[in-house]
């Protein structure tokens, strides 16, 4: 009974939120109903011992991201949720708002017996318009600096799932320096491959990229080795095609999902170009720019130089003032 009250209380908090209030009465009723069902599904899963009992009562909203949390975690979530949303916007642009088109609730709570600094549990339960229900949970770091990134990583998976491309579920990460580094290394592999088709992609040949990324055929699961490929090439391939979905969503915005849904019988390249609303060659150019964007500027930033100058002055000042032993 207590859990039901907590669940209903959380749902009411969401229901009275301004964004939900702005929806039509019918869509609001459906959204609340779906969230309620999601919550019950989560509780059923919990009762099977899969996840600990949800104790979340507070709601934090950042953009299209809604996170329920225990009261003691709420300050942390209020700090991290906007960061997570910003990371998602940086990665997917307006396409991140695809979250608004799926009924999804995130619950963040401490793991059983967890200590400060240990991992938190992020659970999500959602229902897509085609009535499929999904549920998942994962642990993320409690570190203040890491929490936003951890949430964003989890939500990125939901965004990819929402656009209905299952073979992309593994390999689309959020944009961050470490990922950029991997991508740049993958591009070097691409540019030095023995296979001429693969190499031509790195040289800027759109057709070569389409063949290398298997865009000239329907989406398939599981992924096979690309043309002229080895297992190593497959790893590079999986990693390097992730940004393609990001630029598709970024260019196509929240409508990208709707445009993608009506093209299931076409090859992957046409589907993504339609979703992005640009020709496939332009999409390839955007993808290449995304992959080859340097992780860090090749010249030191102004702040670095000023910092160095400052530290040098301090060093000289400290050294000069030191009393000399006599």
């Amino acid at each position: 009974m207590k859990r039901l009250c907590i669940g209903l209380g959380s749902l009411m908090l969401i229901a009275v939120d301004a964004r939900v209030m702005a929806q039509s009465t019918e869509s609001q009723r459906m959204r609340v109903e779906t969230l309620e069902q999601s919550w019950r599904a989560m509780n059923r899963t919990r009762s099977r011992g899969v996840v600990p009992s949800p104790r979340a009562t507070d709601t934090t909203r950042a953009g299209a991201l809604v996170v329920l949390s225990e009261p003691e975690l709420t300050p942390l979530v209020r700090y991290a949720a906007p960061q997570a949303w910003q990371l998602l916007l940086d990665s997917f642009g307006a396409g991140a708002r695809v979250l608004e088109t799926i009924d999804i609730v995130y619950v963040l709570q401490a793991g059983e017996g967890s200590q400060p600094g240990h991992d938190l549990i992020l659970m999500q339960s959602y229902r897509t318009p085609d009535t499929q229900r999904g549920f998942g949970s994962g642990t993320i770091s409690r570190e203040r600096a890491e929490l936003g990134r951890g949430i964003a990583h989890n939500v990125a998976g939901q965004i990819v799932g929402a656009v209905g491309l299952p073979s992309w579920m593994w390999g689309v990460a959020i944009t961050e320096p470490r990922e950029r580094r991997f991508l740049a290394n993958a591009f070097i592999e691409l540019a030095t491959a023995k296979d001429s088709l693969t190499r031509s992609c790195a040289e800027g040949n759109s057709s070569g990229c389409q063949r290398f990324l298997e865009l000239d055929q329907p989406e398939k699961m599981p992924l096979s080795d690309p043309p002229g490929g080895s297992s190593r090439l497959t790893q590079v391939f999986r990693h390097i095609r992730g940004p393609l979905l990001r630029v598709t969503l970024r260019t196509g915005g929240v409508d990208a999902r709707r445009r993608l849904e009506g093209t299931a019988d076409r090859n992957l390249g046409e589907r993504l170009a339609t979703a992005a609303g640009v020709p496939i060659d332009s999409l390839m150019t955007l993808w290449r720019s995304e992959v080859t964007r340097r992780p860090v500027s090749s010249v030191p930033t102004t702040r670095s130089v000023l910092g160095l100058a400052l530290i040098s002055l301090i060093v000289l000042g400290v050294s000069t003032r030191r009393p000399v032993r006599r």
Binding site: E189, A191, R326
Partner: protein, 214 residues
Amino acid sequence: MFGQMLSVQWKWSRWSVLLLSLAVIVVAIWSISVDLQNSLEMQSGLAQRLEAANGWYHTLVWVGGFLLAMHAWRTDHAGRHVYALSLPIPRHRFVLYRYVSGLLFAGLIVLTLWLAALVATSMIEVPPGLNAYPTGLALRIGVALLATYALFFAVWSATPRTGYYVAGILILFVVVNSLSPTPVGNVLQSGLSALWSGLGFEHIMTGRWFLIDV
């Protein structure tokens, strides 16, 4: 006066400078000496080689900063600063000369790296789609070497005992806080991180030091 001090400091530092210069030449050439014509599928290994060289550059930057600063001060410490007191110049000028001398030696190492990188990249055909960054690499490593030199110069300018205390306290703090994080420790660590990134050192030290890159 500066010329004399430079000459003396060069005698103390020359073997370190020469060894570091040799090391950067070897790393620069080794990083791109991959047989691109006979690569097997994706096994050219250029990315891995460049990544490994990136690590070596970081090591050399820290070692270089340490050695250059050490050579600037060690003899003065050993001689109880008698040499410094015997010079007819104020202390602030003495320290400035020591500092600038070390900077010139660091510049020599960076110049060697730049020339080696230019020669190395001119000897191979850079794969289409990639670019060579000899100047960018030398510039970044130069700034990083300047940063580590400045930090170690400050440490070495103190008495050896003070240097040991500072290093000991820092190591103890990091070890204790990693074993048992405390709120105070986390705040201090966050403060140090903020100072590190706020002064721009994060950009300097965590960069991508690749001679050939996207």
